[in-house]
């Protein structure tokens, strides 16, 4: 029995262990290794093997859920009993749309046998390959690879399962007064070149020595994919899901159909895109539909789960989270920004006078309705003067409107990069955005922080 078949078997056994008007079971299997390194030493190597099941029971319109990582028959029976008790104790939920009907999930890529089979010794070896490629600096980061299996079985006939793999190498090359960053992600570990990532980080670090101050200003900027992907994700978290739209918290509220962004900006969520980390269905077993969120600068849609879709008279697009996180509403885990026609040097030329940002740190949403986000730049911030990157800058605090940033773009790079956005809290569910570098007319710097380096 494959891991995918085993996941579905656990889900079916969990479903059968419960009783109610409707039942679904979500199974999550994880086998992963994390070769984390610091100061050019593998320091926190972590191997994880877990499997968990979440059972949802509906009785007379009352909904309850439980989860366990005991997947033997006794464990499943106990979890099913607790889910039933949770439902019995809950008042009826008039907004619950019922469990989704059976539907065939699309065939997607995203699983690589070699990646799934990568042994801990090989994970450690790839971390060392990165470390040894940056001999002038301390290297900080990790190599990780893992296999995740998701399965959903329901009383409405859903029997979906997907095996996925992911691998990421992240590298911060740093010393006193210098730091540079790079990363690479793929569902095929063999596509990653840890030495190249470490070299990119080290070469960036060398250029950050003797960083200068920069006055607060609204300025032009080039954002590398690492920086742009993180900003986009925070905006997505607050504005690209249907719940925030329906509740009026989203920047997109009352703006569907309006041209809000630069005509060169097109944004999709596409779980089927093999260049990303593909997903066939959401945590309720609903097939993932590609969603055009922004087309040529015009806001087209947000992503929907079954609950928000029922409220708006729509169909789910397959973006539900797992219980109990469903209360946060649907989220887009496979963002894709259409590339432009420039290389990064051309983006710098178009900015002419501004700043160059490699990576961001500690973002937070200041005002979701305005799309206002604050955070710091780090590990490679530079001044752009006369169309060239000229000198390093200290880390800068920005408090900037994401919509304003993409309202007037000076260009997007023709190359796109897959940027991992999962920090691997809780069960492993890797997700990443495929984005280009961007040049913008508007990036708001409000202060300065520390310099680069340790």
């Amino acid at each position: 029995m494959s891991e995918s078949e085993r996941a579905l078997d656990v889900a079916e056994r969990a479903r059968r262990a419960a009783s109610g008007d409707e039942i679904d079971a979500l199974v999550h299997l994880e086998r992963s290794g994390f070769a984390r390194f610091a100061g050019s030493t593998v320091h926190q190597p972590t191997l994880i093997e877990d499997e968990s099941v979440t059972i949802r029971v509906v009785r007379d319109g009352r909904v309850g859920a439980s989860s366990t990582n005991r997947t033997d028959d006794d464990g499943l029976r106990a979890a099913a009993k607790r889910a039933g008790e949770a439902a019995d104790n809950a008042p009826a939920d008039p907004a619950f749309p019922g469990l989704p009907p059976a539907a065939e999930a699309p065939a997607v890529e995203g699983f690589d046998e070699e990646t799934a089979a990568l042994a801990p010794e090989e994970q450690a070896a790839r971390a060392w390959t990165a470390i040894e490629a940056a001999p002038r600096h301390g290297l900080y980061g990790y190599f990780t690879s893992g296999a995740t299996d998701i399965a959903v079985a329901s009383s409405t006939g859903i029997a979906a399962s997907q095996s996925m793999t992911d691998a990421t190498v992240r590298a911060l090359a740093a010393s006193d007064g210098e730091s540079g960053y790079a990363e690479a992600t793929s569902w095929r570990a063999g596509e990653l070149d840890p030495a190249a990532v470490a070299s990119e980080a080290a070469e960036k670090a060398i250029r950050t020595r003797d960083a200068a101050a920069f006055e607060a200003a609204v300025c032009r900027a080039v954002l590398e994919p690492y920086a742009f992907a993180e900003l986009l994700w925070y905006f997505a978290f607050s504005s690209l899901g249907a719940l925030s739209l329906l509740e009026g918290r989203s920047y997109l509220a009352e703006r569907i159909g309006e041209r809000c962004f630069d005509p060169s900006f097109t944004l999709r969520d596409d779980g089927r895109d093999a260049r990303g980390l593909p997903k066939a269905f959401d945590f309720e077993g609903v097939p993932k539909e590609p969603v055009t969120l922004v087309e040529d600068g015009v806001v087209r849609d947000v992503v929907w789960d079954r609950r928000t879709a029922a409220r708006a008279g729509r169909e789910s697009t397959g973006h539900a989270l797992a219980a109990p996180a469903q209360a946060h509403g649907p989220l887009p885990f496979n963002l894709v920004v259409e590339p432009g026609d420039a290389d990064v040097d051309e983006l710098v030329e178009r900015v002419d006078d501004g700043i160059y940002v490699t990576r961001l740190h500690y973002l937070n949403i200041v005002d979701p309705r305005e799309g206002l986000i604050t955070g710091m730049t780090r590990d490679g911030t530079f001044r752009i003067e006369k169309g060239r990157v000229t000198r390093p800058l200290v880390n800068l605090r920005f408090t900037t409107s994401f919509p304003a940033l993409v309202e007037r773009l000076l260009g997007l790079s023709s190359d796109v990069k897959l940027v991992n956005l999962s920090d691997f809290y809780d069960e492993r569910y890797p997700y990443a955005s495929l984005v280009p570098a961007v040049a913008t007319e508007t990036f708001t710097i409000v202060g300065s922080g520390s310099g680069p380096g340790l």
Binding site: P45, S67, R82, E121, I131, P324, Y362, F424, S450
Partner: protein
Amino acid sequence: MRDLCRHAVDAAVASGAGYADARAITRRAQDVSTKNRQVETVSDAESAGIGVRVLVDGAWGFACDRRLTDDGARDAALRAAAFARASASRGGKRRVELAPAPARQGEYQTPGHRDPIDVPLAEKIEVCLRAEEAMSHRDVEITEASVRAQREERAFASSEGADIFQKFYECGGGISSLAIADGRVQTRSYPSSHGGSSAQAGWEYIESLGLDGEGPRVAEEAAALLRAAPCPAGVTTIVLDSEQMELQVHESVGHPTELDRVYGTEAAYAGTSFLKPEDLGSLRYGSDLMNITADPTTPQGLGTFAFDDEGVPAARQPIVEAGVLRGFLGSRETSAVLGTSTGGSMRADGWSRMPLVRMTNLHLEAGEGSFEDLLADVDDGIYLATNKSWSIDDKRLNFQFGTEIAWEIKRGKLGRMLRDATYTGVTPVFWGSLDALAGPDEWRMQGLTNCGKGQPGQHAHVSHGAPPARFRDVQVGVRS
């Protein structure tokens, strides 16, 4: 569970580990939330497993297994040892040493009258719905209430002979009102934002919060914020409420005094620290009024225990005294490097994560006088309450924090309400501008469950106590 830990440790040592420890953990957690008087979430989760940490040839390895059986314990131990061996295979710049620590045996249990897990789900739902009812207001679009309960058992054993069993209860809750009109979104919450406050305590803690009693004020303030003026920009005197002070302590004192950050272990993700080991005992962190204490013995603290996740006994320690850096948060590994005894802050987020240096309970000690006394010496300033947004740089120097609500202070009294308030500063400069702290009667402690750190990520549950405090010459009103 204790036998399994010893079994895992024995297996690790037999496979070549010079040091090994094991944590077997069972956790049961319930979450109930309601929104606009409908139940959003009723969930009941359990998780169990064993995590084994080993040192082989001076290199760490960690592996875990969800099976609480002899086979699961042994397999985790062997995998951890193999991963450590692979990690050590090409040397490295550092060989891990552990500071000596006596092997302890003991048991501990959170004091409390009513196990929060045993409280019926129906009662938990009722608490939420009653609190929501109290937030009824025509201008409030969304009301939310939530309660959580957790019971956790932790067994620990080490190859040095430690043998410990601890049982913890946690519960918490909170309410919020969201008012939306004319493109503005305003929130008020109680007892704190971001899901409320938690404590290591029996269910009586939830009852003490009085969620329904605070509902009308929370709703009224959310609605009033829609009509409030925006916080003006400028440099002025600010007074922060105790909840915002707890966030200030967490971000600008707690994280920078974690020794793994000081030594760079977290450099790639959470960041480093502006502090250096040699700053201990000499660095001027803030004004003479600033006294910060790490105290894992605080009653009801989420960071309270008898032993940390390395088996080191809980001990209260000064971090900042009269404005001078006096201590770090550390582990046996960082203590060996630093050469002082500052371990006791190692904590793991469950059985599947390796322990990290984490905050326990970190408090700003009280001053004297009342909240009104703080205001009395302000001719023109701003009072900010309840955290809304937070961000700080990777060395923990430049920060920008926003609060849900603020008020003008004019001639020693609170004036009109202000919305969208933010303030910014640089850590030692900001703490240097501290010029008054309210007294013990105004000191409050709250617990948060979302402190993120580590790769793979880990959440820590920590508590902070603080009084309202006053700072001079602070930049407020930072927006694009």
